[in-house]
């Protein structure tokens, strides 16, 4: 057994210990014990994942663990990347959770704390699964444990139950799709292990069915439009450290599934498949960020931003598959590397953002941006950390999101000759989608940071906020440091990305290279994130120095009340809120969003208004048009089925009798 085996064994052992400890320990120490065990599981996963990405292989077969097929664990570089990300995110979030629960905050219930280590363990085992049955079992365990965690606060808020219901239904529909697709695949391949699947030759029709089912199943986990409806409900309602794990680690496994099945096991496929992936990714990116730009609930905003970022990753994967189908392996490798790097970057900044949002929730009890404001005075460190995460999410230099979006754009703007009209139209449109997404992300996070953390307090709630305890700040600080590392030294991940893409696409290594400067295989463009940062710092210093020199007297600052064009002092209620900030964009995209606004006016006299009420609702249009008819139909069907069950025992016995007869007849008639 090598380091990977030891890492996974340690993770399993720690998860078991953590669950046991949470079940027996008294409430006071329960979060600490379960949190420490969860952090241990995450740490073990991080170590194993890093080793796997570095090229250490692992293969284990445990035939006694599952009847019929046994458990098959394989950790290759692709799986290792996702294990490492999930492990890192869980490590940070679990340590944060210990601080979060201290002094009576958060949820210490036995079920939540006992399930937490198990959930993290399943996050590590899904990418390590080496056979269809193992993947399905771990996938379902992940769905169940995460459902328990989402439902943590169901007694306090009825919305949580509602969100849990949506999540349960969607995740199981997704599971059914994956089950059907992969079982058909395994049946055709005559084997259950990934090796057997890789060697199989499927008919084009069956391959398309398998890929379509996998795309639906895995895509729903990643929040791909139109299967995203559960995500903006479930992620915000979970406890904040769980939100971070869901949004930064669990959604990635949807990407993993599509890459594993589509590019690795099925070995590519026709360009049409990947155009679908690309289109769904583009739609998710735009739709997600548009709703994030409108949201005024901080955690809901972050959840929609997850839909956006997963959309960008799927766009990159789609481009990779498209180029792969055209035989442009180098560009395909760059696009895949961009997608995987964005998975890592997104995990980094989304962890920071969700955990700081949790700190705000803990300090103020609210997450409505329209009631916040002025937090930068009361919680300076948390504000700084949120600002850092937001820089990454805005994809601006020198943040970490910029590097992966740059890679993605590079894979798009160097079109290979002779790939047909479709790419000539699709690639510029894809660039436009990425650009509009980046622009709207900028607006979204300017709103979140500017309205929520800067400005002046809009209610008495943020005025009483206090800074989080050191343990929480330290945990978020570690995540922020990881983001900073990714931002200035993305080339450190170069060999890992090259190995993963090389394994998946069979191209020569060194896709992403260089030391200070990022160099790509076959593309002349370069950037150097670290030197951009150095240049910016130098320019700030130079400007400050020159401003001091030019101002003859040493410029002493004077405090004065707000000028506000002489109209001041304005009250905090006169500030722009999150809703008013987003109003211009809402008007521009009114056709897509279809907002419902009502204005109630009461007149004191024909000329004077007594009071005015403005209300805006922004229901998810896809949910309205796509899901509501289905729900209505299912409801109607179940109501009409009531007539079948009128309470008569005779009738039920008759159903059983005729049912068995029908089955027997069917078995005889059908050969």
């Amino acid at each position: 057994m090598n380091i990977l085996g030891w890492g996974l064994t340690a993770a399993v052992a720690l998860a078991g210990l953590g669950t046991l400890a949470a079940l027996v320990a008294p409430e006071r120490v329960r979060p600490m014990l379960a949190g420490a065990a969860t952090a241990g599981v995450g740490g073990a996963g991080l170590a194993a994942g890093v080793a796997a990405v570095a090229g250490v292989g692992y293969h284990a077969r445990l035939p006694w663990l599952l009847p019929l097929f046994g458990v098959e664990l394989v950790l290759d570089p692709l799986g290792g990347l996702f294990v490492a990300v999930a492990g890192g995110v869980s490590l940070v979030a679990a340590v944060y959770g210990i601080g979060y629960a201290a002094r009576g905050h958060g949820n210490q219930s036995r079920s939540t704390q006992a399930v937490l280590p198990l959930f993290v363990l399943t996050l590590l085992l899904v990418p390590a699964a080496g056979s269809v049955s193992t993947l399905l079992v771990t996938w379902e365990l992940m769905a169940l444990t995460s459902l328990v965690l989402v439902l943590t606060d169901h007694r306090a808020r009825p919305r949580v139950t509602h969100a849990g219901l949506w999540y349960a239904v969607m995740t199981h529909l997704g599971f059914v799709a994956i089950l059907a697709g992969l079982v058909a695949f395994a049946a055709a391949a005559g084997g259950d292990t990934f090796e057997a699947l890789r060697a199989a030759r499927l008919s084009p029709a069956l391959a398309a069915v398998v890929f379509g089912a996998a795309l639906v199943g895995f895509g729903s986990k990643a929040g791909l439009v139109p299967l995203h409806v559960w995500l903006p409900r479930a992620h915000p309602e979970a406890p904040s450290q769980v939100s971070a794990m869901l949004s930064a680690a669990m959604v990635n496994l949807g990407v993993y599934g599509v890459v594993r099945v589509g590019l690795d096991l099925l070995g590519g496929g026709p360009a049409g498949w990947w155009l679908v992936v690309l289109g769904l990714g583009a739609a998710s990116a735009l739709y997600g960020i548009l709703h994030a730009a409108m949201a005024s609930d901080l955690k809901r905003l972050l959840a929609y931003s997850t839909v956006e970022n997963m959309g960008l990753v799927f766009l990159a994967v789609g481009v990779a598959g498209l180029f792969h189908a055209h035989g442009e392996e180098r560009l395909a490798a760059v696009a895949l590397a961009a997608g995987l790097l964005h998975v890592v970057n997104h995990a980094g900044f989304k962890t920071v953002l969700f955990l700081t949002a949790g700190s705000v929730l803990r300090a103020t009890g609210g997450r409505d941006l329209n009631a916040l404001g002025g937090l930068s005075r009361r919680m300076p460190v948390t504000t700084g950390l949120f600002a850092f995460g937001a820089l990454g999410a805005m994809a601006l230099p020198p943040g970490n999101g910029f590097v992966s979006e740059w890679l993605l754009l590079q894979s798009l703007v160097h079109p290979p000759a002779g790939t047909g009209v479709v790419t000539a139209v699709v690639l510029p449109l894809a660039v436009a989608v990425v650009a509009l997404t980046a622009g709207l992300a900028m607006a979204t996070f300017v709103k979140a940071l500017g309205v929520g953390f800067f400005a002046r307090p809009r209610s008495h709630v943020p005025e009483r906020a206090v800074e989080s305890p050191p343990l929480m700040l330290a945990a978020v600080g570690v995540a922020a440091a990881a983001c900073a590392g990714l931002a200035v030294a993305p080339t450190a991940l170069g060999p890992a990305l090259s190995r993963v893409t090389g394994d998946t696409l069979d191209v020569a290594p060194a896709v992403v290279g260089g030391a200070l400067t990022v160099r790509l295989a076959g593309i002349a463009s370069t950037i150097s994130p670290v030197l951009i940062l150095v240049a910016l710092v130098a320019a700030v210093a130079l400007t400050a120095l020159l401003a001091q020199v030019v101002a003859r007297r040493p410029a002493r600052r004077r405090d004065a009340p707000l000028w506000d064009c002489g109209a001041g002092p304005p009250t905090p209620r006169m500030q722009y809120t999150a809703t008013s900030f987003a109003e211009p964009l809402q008007r521009v995209f009114a056709d897509v969003l279809a907002p419902e606004t009502t204005v109630d006016t009461q007149h004191a006299s024909p000329y004077l208004l007594a009071r005015m009420r403005y209300q805006r609702r922004l229901p998810d249009r896809i949910e309205y048009w796509l899901y509501r008819p289905v729900l209505v139909a299912v409801n109607a069907l179940s109501r009409s089925a009531r007539a079948l069950a009128n309470g008569s025992v005779h009738r039920y016995l008759a159903y059983g009798f005729f049912g068995s007869i029908a089955l027997l007849v069917a078995l005889v008639v059908i050969p």
């Binding site: 510029p428 650009a435 900028m442 800067f454 593309i523 950037i527 240049a535 101002a551 405090d559």
Partner: protein, 319 residues
């Protein structure tokens, strides 16, 4: 023939010259535009040097920190100027081999300029005034809608060169003059000009001459600034105008850019002439244009996006 400027020391000298020229020329360019407008409207005008006089005055004034603002408000002017300085050291205005040419490509340049706007919008929100919020909200809306046009135009320009680094883009245009008049290039130029107008807050998107008008964007964000801070913001705004005009000039009329150290004085003359002509043309157009209603601006930007998209697809087929 480009060897002499690839030497690191000369690259540093040329880049520093570029930064100095941008800082010195930028306020003059704003002065020139105001003067052109004044003359066309039958006024005498304050002269080309007026913006510099204003800056000198502002830099000697004591800065005022409005009560309730935090570090974001104080840091924004410095960061805004810093992003403009880094961009000035990156893009090829006088030479195609700037020190930062391999460090930041066109995407990074766009990102840096956006970063400047973002910090200013955050500072405006930090004041907690209605005007600050209004300006920030409108500015980021326009910026978000401008982004696709810029990047698709970049696509059109870089698709055939194989690189998004500005030095290589301009070099390619220098070596193949016919490339400049290709349909893709002309369409991209038109798209980028509209973007420049929107990004720098000129008519018909924003009116830089008004305060206290409900339709304003950029000026509403900087209302609370005073003294040195306001001076820095004004300087940065004029630098961004110069940089974007210079970028358009270099990409579409690259002639005169220095290929050796001896060519720098000529490049300086050529650069000044090109941006002066562009600025004067912009100012003349402003006299004839009315400001668009804010909610008509997206239509203008959508038009420019269509131009950029056409440029990108043409670059494919006529490659």
């Amino acid at each position: 023939m480009t060897d002499s400027l690839q030497d690191p020391v000369t690259a540093v000298v040329a880049s520093l010259a570029q930064v100095a020229v941008v800082v010195l020329v930028a306020p003059l360019l704003v002065g020139l535009m105001r003067q052109v407008r004044a003359r066309m409207e039958g006024r005498v005008g304050a002269g080309v040097w007026q913006p510099w006089r204003d800056l000198r005055k502002l830099f000697r004034r004591q800065p005022v920190t409005p009560v309730g603002t935090t570090w974001a408000f104080r840091a924004a002017p410095l960061l805004l100027v810093a992003t403009a300085l880094v961009v000035a050291a990156t893009i090829p205005l006088l030479t195609t081999h700037t020190v930062l040419d391999r460090v930041a490509d066109l995407f990074a340049v766009v990102g840096l300029l956006t970063l400047g706007t973002v910090v200013l919008a955050l500072a405006a929100l930090n004041t907690g005034t209605a005007f600050g919020g209004m300006g920030a909200s409108r500015e980021v809306t326009v910026l978000a809608l401008v982004e696709p046009t810029i990047l698709v135009a970049v696509f059109a320009l870089s698709a055939r060169v194989g690189s998004t680094n500005l030095g290589q883009l301009v070099d390619a245009a220098l070596h193949d003059p016919l490339r400049v008049v290709s349909p893709a290039s002309l369409l991209a130029a038109a798209a980028l000009l509209v973007v420049t107008v929107a990004e720098t807050g000129r008519l018909p998107v924003d009116n830089p001459a008004t305060h206290l008008e409900l339709t304003m964007l950029h000026e509403a964000m900087v209302l609370e600034y005073s003294g040195v801070d306001l001076g820095l913001v004004e300087l940065a705004a004029s630098m961004r105008l110069t940089l974007l005009l210079g970028l358009v000039a270099s990409l579409f009329t690259p002639w005169g850019i220095a290929t050796s150290l001896a060519g720098l004085p000529l490049a300086l003359v050529a650069f000044t002439a090109k941006v002066a002509v562009l600025a004067a043309a912009l100012a003349a157009a402003e006299v004839l244009l009315a400001k668009l209603r804010l909610f008509r601006v997206p239509e203008l930007l959508a038009g420019s996006f269509v131009l950029a998209l056409l440029a990108a697809t043409t670059s494919f087929f006529l490659a």
